[in-house]
Symmetry: C2
Subunit: 237 residues, 2 copies
DNA sequence: CGACGCTTTGAGGAGATTCAAGACACGTGG
DNA sequence: CCACGTGTCTTGAATCTCCTCAAAGCGTCG
């Protein structure tokens, strides 16, 4: 692994800059080292390519190292809904845990790289599984909490949903070391609308309305937050 | 525990009639016995009483033995939404797992009883925690899957949501040994509407519309499914 | 048996969708 | 480097679904 052609030095869990966000968070130093042995790195996908497909057997938990992805669910009529967007440092794959078969499809929104913690080791005792299981359980529950939060958001008026969406993306990017106030959306209006339960025209209208109100500046997918308080005010009244 | 005043013999995990639905499902006989030692039984709540409250510290996973409950989430503005309804044999409490603090409130819809697997033992090694952790992980993931399913449902037209709701309750009751075609709803129209993202008047209208179409028979909360195919047809076109 | 809460039913209105068309951005090839 | 084409984004107008408000009917429980 150390003789790659990249200019970077080999990345392990021990020196990964996402370690505080990713699964190792909370593990002992030695355990992180052990975990590092079990992880497959340097997986790459390009825009539109699939990370895993609905119905495929669960192969493990995935940690996004760079780039972004969307998690979509498809019902029996072929309706596709965006369950979540995944940013660097975030985990992916919990939809395959319960039934050992993925219930969703994960698709790259841009070029991305990810690490892969093989399912084989999730129930083996290669490392202190008690702690790892605990961590996984927490992450899985966290996914549940997020869905509940999203459910609450979907009940709110369209403008609140969009305001909240912008602010949440901002927060998540900030937590990962990116600018909180100026960033590029990697998903289309259509995908945002699908995620928020709105038509893409509605999303577009509201985003431009926010711009007219001096809350944000938008140019296509480039977004700049001008007045965070006003945005917050939309759903904290 | 065996010297209770009830007429039933003492219930343990080993002789509980919900064993195939509850957590022990898949455990070894001896492990079920061990698990039984850790469970607090005979907890009772009456209609409207709280099982656990949002913000309270996580004390463990709960298995509903009889009766039904609702799981509600409350946002910063005091808006209350019904996240889920819980039927006998179903598990509860996963909203407290990630942050060790409950994110939701669980409330009895009628008189109910439940078992309580103390959180203290979830990370101790009193029994084969590898297996139990695995089981818990699967249940937690299952909760996530359910929320994704619900998310998809909420995108559908109101009539589909109600049809799906009726059929899902029917299936869940059937799996627990109750009649699949005739049952009593333990929740109000208001609560159904809240759960499905509809006004209670809309729920009422649609239920009565279904009755006019000879799909169901309704008398207040008593419900009888007359034509399951027609109901299915509403969202499987 | 009376009161309260839940359910039903109707009318009107608001918010978001759908349909349609034009503007813009981006990647491709000349 | 620019022209072109495709897909994305914007904007407008008409429509529709579902909500809100209002009031009456029913059921349930003290």
């Amino acid at each position: 692994m150390s003789n790659t052609l990249t200019t970077k030095t080999a990345v392990t869990c021990e020196n990964c800059n996402l370690d505080t966000l990713c699964l190792p968070n909370g593990l002992q130093r030695t355990e992180i080292g052990a975990l590092g042995q079990l992880v497959k790195r340097d997986n790459i996908r390009r825009k539109g390519e699939i990370i895993y497909h609905v119905g495929s057997s669960f192969r493990g938990i995935i940690a996004l190292r760079s780039g972004s992805a969307k998690l979509v669910s498809i019902d029996s009529n072929g309706n596709e809904i965006v369950v979540n967007f995944i940013l660097p440092g975030e985990l992916l794959g919990f939809d395959g845990l319960a039934l050992q078969t993925h219930q969703c499809t994960a698709i790259a929104l841009e070029t991305l790289s990810f690490c892969h913690l093989s399912a084989h080791y999730l129930d083996s005792s290669a490392i202190d599984t008690a702690f790892l299981n605990q961590a996984l359980l927490q992450r899985a529950s966290d996914q549940f909490d997020s869905q509940v939060q999203k459910m609450m958001l979907i009940r709110r008026p369209a403008e609140e949903r969009v305001a909240s969406f912008i602010l949440k993306i901002s927060e998540r990017l900030k937590a990962r070391g990116y600018s909180a106030l100026e960033f590029r959306l990697t998903m289309s209006r259509e995908e945002i609308g699908n995620y928020l339960g709105l038509a893409h025209e509605t999303v577009s209208r509201i985003i431009n309305h926010f711009q007219a109100l001096q809350m944000i500046e938008v140019k296509s997918r480039q977004l700049k937050i001008i007045n965070k308080k006003k945005l917050l005010g939309f759903y904290e009244e």
